[in-house]
Symmetry: C2
Subunit: 113 residues, 2 copies
């Protein structure tokens, strides 16, 4: 789950997929229905949906003849939690650095050499 961070972000890195996700966040839609609204072909949308489904951001359900797709908020929430945790750890490290910089003491000049 944690290891899938780059894949999850990559899936969210495409503007068209955000467009799709936004529509699927308002309500369940089929690939054909999305193709009627978006300026790209149904096949292209199908590929995007496959990417989104593989990372768990979209779930699909057979509904009669057609397949409707749905945006999954839980996965996005989990991602948000991970990113927040990581961001906080970076900030903590920043605090340590600032603290060391402002504390009087020997200059770290040439430490790496």
């Amino acid at each position: 789950m944690t290891a899938a961070l780059p894949a999850l972000c990559a899936a969210l890195g495409d503007p068209t997929r955000w467009e799709i996700l936004t529509r699927l966040g308002e309500g369940p839609l089929s690939a054909s229905a999305l193709a009627r609204v978006l300026p790209i072909s149904r096949q292209a949308i199908g590929k995007h949906l496959e990417v989104l489904r593989e990372v768990g951001l979209v779930e699909s359900e057979q509904r009669g003849r057609e397949v409707v797709h749905l945006a999954v908020g839980a996965r996005l929430g989990a991602l948000a939690g991970e990113l927040d945790r990581i961001g906080r750890s970076w900030e903590t490290r920043l605090l340590r650095v600032k603290e060391a910089a402002e504390r009087p003491g020997p200059h770290p000049r040439g430490v790496t050499g």
Copy 2:
């Protein structure tokens, strides 16, 4: 800021950039220092750093002869907040759908046709 969501996620969508960010989260490093640790060339790292700097995930500082880079946790935290908000909105919509599905009433059969 909100409009830069796909760009921000795209920057986080590459495993190598996560590798770089992880190192820069532990402490400030120069491009050459990163190149000594990572299995790719300094130039490749430079390009990644440029991408990360453009979306605000990394800040750079001239330190004598070299330029050290630093991971910025605040930007990641802001992104996390956005994603969490969006995810929650999707879940809310889901609740509405379930509610409607479990409430007795006229079948929505053929509504879209």
